[in-house]
Amino acid sequence: MTLRRNLFSYGVAIPFAIVLAFPFVWMFVTSLKPEAQVYDPTKVWNFDPTLASYGFLFHHTDYVRWLENSAFVGVLVVLITLVIALPAGYALARLSGRVGRSMGVGIFLTYLVPPTLLFLPLSRVVAQYLHLSDRLWALVVVYPSFTVPFAIWLLMGFFKTIPQELEDAALVDGCTRLGSLVRIVFPISIPGILTVVIFTFSLVINEFVYAITFISSSANRTLPVGVPTDLIRGDLFNWPGIMGAILIPSIPLALIYNAFLNRFIAGFTGGAFR
């Protein structure tokens, strides 16, 4: 029975893993090719590997700048998100009863409102009212609009897994509600909070629509927009460099996702998963 189950697991997981990951293998291979051999049909798999493209990426493009910009926006947005979402997630998970449930669902639904619907009015607001055109601060202000609902939703799930008895014990011992929140609940939910931090950060790294709408100059671009717009100049594609640019953030992100996957699932299902 276990043999049959394992056969099924390997038989399904391995082909799918190959199909899903193969584009990345090809990206890696391409990133090691010298530019002259990229289009050479005789040198598809047997070429002279070189790290020149990575050198080009770091020394002759704004790539490092884009990495910095994304990191800057990411860290600030994560902080803002935590400040707003942690209390709200806790309140919705614990204190609110039926009104809280509807509000929780409402907030969950705002996460579904797509940026492709809001980017036009927001572009005008950012340009005319906030005067933040072409500034990273525009992203810092706007990104929490989708990271906060997502974070609240995940955090609600995490907080529900913390037994109410712990807080009740603290209250009996004389702690205030706010105090029990800060001293008992938050420390225990650190793994959950860390998971929210990671997935929020990745939401920021992934965001494209607002970034391309609000930011126009190359030096101010974030990573997901800089690579498509600036590494591709007209007809000149430096494919090895581009492939390297893709792999550098992707592999670490996938490793981190994999490490935190079980916790993400736990928050997602609000504790139904044990």
Binding site: A88, V105, V113, P114, S123, S145, V148, W239, F264, F273
Partner: protein, 310 residues
């Protein structure tokens, strides 16, 4: 009891105990989030609806009220009508593929086996990697001259080297390429949701079915499948909303071409609103995403509760 003490205490003490009341504390904790979301989601949404009824152009947030003119222009435009159809085609075909594949993979990954961590890492890659970057990777994957996909097809003698398909430059092939990329990047996410659903089935159910003799395919059909249906539907709904409202994949792969054969609601709204500067029309076009949003929202309300997601 806390309020009784407060009534007797000084003013300063009373203030401290106010925060003890559940309703006050709850409101305090939730209001920043509500204010923020109203400001950054609610108001722009209302603005988008308002703009759609004006002739606003780039450089201004207001314009003359033109009623339904933008909607009429859009509806009479064959490119726009095409974009509606393309969006639906892309969404439904890719998500059908996703559901089947994700269901299979999730069942394969549920139990521990040697190498599961590594295989899971490989399977997560398409979702973990930033989407705009992976789509560029597919630009190279489908390159007219050096496509590795064509290389495989030629090696397998499915395609002649003299007649290499141009995956991004021919109308139907371009659509197929976009659908493939959408499915490829969504499968890991759907798998994760399915995994959550499978893991939430209590062990007692498995034990009971084993005792009653239901195993393998029978158990899957009569026991596991019905229990997983709510979360499977949640996965499908997520997939629909994220694919239908996605701009990155079609914009970078084909930018609506060739000959507007892969124009989607999102890319057409972007082209009209930002590139042509016609904000009113762009907003009107993007509003056609609202029915999709409403459909998914209702679906979520019904099924997410059952699947214990919210």
């Amino acid at each position: 009891m806390a309020t009784a003490v407060a009534a007797r205490g000084s003013r300063r003490h009373r203030l401290r105990y106010v925060a003890e009341r559940r309703s006050v504390l709850a409101t305090l904790l939730i209001s920043p989030a509500v204010l923020f979301i109203t400001a950054l989601v609610g108001i722009p949404l209302a603005l988008a609806v308002y703009l759609a009824f004006t002739n606003a152009r780039a450089g201004s947030l207001t314009g003359k009220w033109v009623g339904l003119a933008n909607f009429r222009t859009a509806w009479n435009d064959p490119i726009f009508r095409g974009s509606l159809w393309h969006t639906a085609e892309m969404t439904f075909i890719s998500q059908a593929v996703v559901v089947v594949c994700a269901g299979l993979i999730a069942h394969a990954l549920v139990h521990r086996f040697h190498g599961r961590w590594f295989l899971r890492f490989l399977i997560l890659l398409p979702w973990a990697a930033p989407i705009s970057l992976t789509v560029i990777g597919f630009l190279w994957f489908y390159d007219p001259q050096a496509s590795i996909w064509n290389w495989f097809l030629i090696k397998l003698h499915l395609v002649s080297p003299l007649n290499k398909p141009n995956w991004l430059g021919t109308p139907h092939a371009a659509m197929a390429s976009i659908i493939t990329v959408q499915a490829w990047r969504t499968i890991p996410f759907a798998t994760v949701i399915f995994l959550a659903g499978i893991s939430s089935i209590p062990q007692e159910v498995n034990d009971a079915s084993a005792i009653d003799g239901a195993t393998g395919l029978k158990k899957f059909w009569y026991v596991s499948l019905p229990l997983q249906l709510p979360i499977a539907l949640v996965a499908v709904l997520f997939g629909i909303i994220f694919t239908a409202t996605d701009m990155v994949v079609p914009y970078i792969l084909t930018n609506g071409g060739p000959f507007n054969s892969t124009q989607m609601i999102t890319t057409w709204a972007f082209t009209t609103g930002i590139n042509s500067g016609n904000i009113g029309e762009g907003a009107a076009i993007s509003l056609f995403l609202l029915p999709v949003l409403a459909f998914v929202a209702v679906g979520m309300l019904v099924f997410a509760r059952k699947a214990e997601v919210t």
